[in-house]
């Protein structure tokens, strides 16, 4: 292991600190480049990936599972991409837990550019790693190579949200090849943004419906299930089933549009629902 300026390091394959999980790959990278404490890559871990164009539902699920894992000391491995990946790193950092970002470019390159702030934090407080040399720009083919590292570094893979087609499928394929467990968060069968994750489930991925299920699947102590009282708001229950626009809600619940707008605004202020980028509203909390 060669120390470079600050926390920057390079590890040859076979040197101490090289994560043994990567030896499962048919073509382990000859050298890793990164920042932070490389020992984090050899702890108990969970890879969490999801769509870039995530819905509030996907982001909420990602935060839930990533936050729980990191707070239990399970390293959250992801790719720092926009959407679910960033949400996973952010949730892990927020719960002061370990997290590893695997980049499709040099570990010192800020990609995606909008994740500049997050990557700077990750370099100091977590791990940013890449098999590509310093300053290497991202390219089409580097993303798929990167996905194989994410799959290998996680003891299991959790897909929080995926549409169709989706890049998360390559990660899931690598995980299956490596014999890792694949979990997926189910979504509405009506939502195109959940088609990919639902398909993974029908192909055999284990559905993850709450954190105690994840705890069980990862061999952690399961949390006794508590059923919080769910409020009986008609609109909220409709939105829990499927995200809708105010017009649809008014039609389905047979309400006046102005009443609907009121109710939605109040629910949004409470944080129970969120607006999707296309103007639909969906539930982001169970209670």
């Amino acid at each position: 292991m060669k120390e470079k300026a600050g926390q920057q390091w390079e590890i040859e394959r076979g040197a101490p600190g090289y994560p043994s999980a990567l030896e499962d790959l048919s073509d382990p990278p000859a050298r890793l480049y990164g920042f932070g404490n490389p020992a984090l890559m050899s702890t108990d871990s969970l890879a969490i990936v999801g769509a870039r164009r995530a819905t509030p539902y996907g982001l909420a699920c990602t935060r839930l599972f990533a936050g729980w894992s990191a707070s239990r000391g399970i390293t959250v491995v992801s790719g720092a991409a926009i959407g679910c990946d960033c949400a996973a790193h952010e949730a892990a950092l927020a719960s002061n837990g370990p997290t590893v970002a695997v980049l499709p470019c040099g570990a010192d390159v800020n990609y995606p550019p909008s994740a500049y702030g997050l990557l700077s934090l990750l370099r100091v407080h977590a791990v940013v790693v890449s098999e590509f040399p310093w300053n290497a720009p991202p390219a089409r083919w580097t993303f798929v190579k990167r996905n194989r590292l994410i799959a290998a570094l996680g003891r299991a893979l959790l897909v929080t949200e995926a549409g169709l087609p989706s890049g998360t499928f390559t990660t899931a394929d690598f995980a299956l090849e490596l014999g890792r467990d694949v979990f997926a968060v189910p979504g509405s069968i009506l939502s195109p943004e959940s088609r990919g994750s639902n398909r993974l489930i029908s192909q055999g991925a284990q559905p993850m419906t709450d954190v105690s299920e994840l705890a069980g699947a990862l061999g952690r102590e399961t949390i006794p299930e508590t059923f919080a009282a769910v409020s009986g708001n008609q609109i909220l229950s409709a939105l829990r089933a499927t995200p809708m626009r105010p017009d649809d809600i008014a039609r389905e619940c047979v309400m006046d549009i102005i009443e609907v707008v009121h109710a939605i605004t109040l629910l949004e202020l409470k944080g129970s629902i969120k607006r999707y980028p296309d103007g639909r509203y969906g539930a982001v909390k169970v209670t």
């Binding site: 995606p112 626009r245 707008v261 605004t265 202020l269 103007g279």
Partner: protein, 497 residues
Amino acid sequence: MKASLTGQACVGTSTLVGTQAVPVEVQIDVACGLPAFTIVGLGDAAVLEARERVRAAIRASGYTFPNARVVVNLAPGPLRKHGTGFDLPIALALLVATGQIPAELMEQHRAVGEVALDGSVRCVPGMLAHGLASVADGHALFGPCQAADALRTLGGLRYRPLESLRSILGDRTEKAPQNRHKPAFPEPDLSDVAGHTLAKRALEIAAAGGHNLLLSGPPGSGKTMLARRLPGILPPLDDEERVESAVVHSVAGLDELPILSGSRPFRAPHHSASIAGLVGGGAPPRPGEVSLAHNGVLFLDELPEFGPSSLQTLRQPMEDGRIVLVRAEGRVSFPARFSLVGAANPCPCGYLGDPVRHCTCTHAVVTRYRNRVGGPLMDRIDLALDVERIEPELIVRMATGEDSSSVAARVRQALEVASAQGRSRNAVLSGAALIDACRMSPGVADVVSMLARSCHLSGRGVTRLLRVARTIADLDQASAVQKHHVIEAVSYRKQES
């Protein structure tokens, strides 16, 4: 009458500067000398071409063109004169100077119009402006018959329509209105639109408060259809507005009759429009789309596709209700008080969030697209909402809802509430006047500050929220803004992607 070989005459006319007609005197001198026909007084090419038209028209109408030295001066000299409207006054001045028509005929009269080679009198742009100037100066006006319908609506104008140069000596008593079937200009009705209840509510608020509105939604979701129905729920133009708007249309050479019959203008320029086309320009400066939309609706479809510099030029008219064009020749100002309706796709391909079609845009592309409409313009848009694409099979089954007239009635009542409190347009309220107008109880003010915090509203955001809340309260016939008005208003804010 036999033509004399020499003489002088003077006939009044006017020329356009912006939307104003400025009086001009056509002075003519017919003198002995080598035969010539000269026009002086800073006329453009169209003015100079009048020589050929006038010469032919005079002969064709059975009058004599003098075989003499003819000099026409257009006074005042320093003012640039444009267009073909000088044909008629030059021809009439020539006929007076050569004694072929009596001079008394032209006393207290002006003349504006183009003449054809056969002597018939044709319409020129801006006849309404010329008519208004004649009314202001107490003159009667000779002009083309085509403009008679529009000019008859101006109170106090004695208009003398001329079929041709020949008819000046004929029967000049004003004919009774030709009782031409007045064409109806039906506005498209809101009940044509299925579903979209929230968007219709937003249109109602926009109409009642004069707010600018942004509709976003995938192609085919009915954004244009909705926007097209905004003029129909606005109150009809009052007399003053009618003339203001019609004059702009007249100066631009467009049909002013729909405006004069009370319809509010609706302009939908394509996103390739140039700055000059949008805000006015050219030589002489002509009104642009913002002025043609005066007292009506300016609809900008595909708002992010408009050039950023074109959109920036909309700021001044949106602020002042006028556009001032500063040119080497001088400053020209056109009225431009309009309601802006913008329409945008949610992303460049248009299908972000569409349940059926797959969107092909990356996150970065979507963010860049949404940021194309600059902050200063977005700051002046009070209402924003998403419009969904309704499946064709649903459209047939969906309730169509109210028609325009019942919505228009509520808008009218809301405007009465506003004017009873001494307000005209809620969209221009700001600062202390806005706070006064809202008449909020301390409890409601707390709600506003709570909303501002939790929705991360900027100072401008709060201003927009209160304006919209004030209009919603007007529609509710409430003298003070209450909590539920504010909560509805906050849902029309612009949201982050």
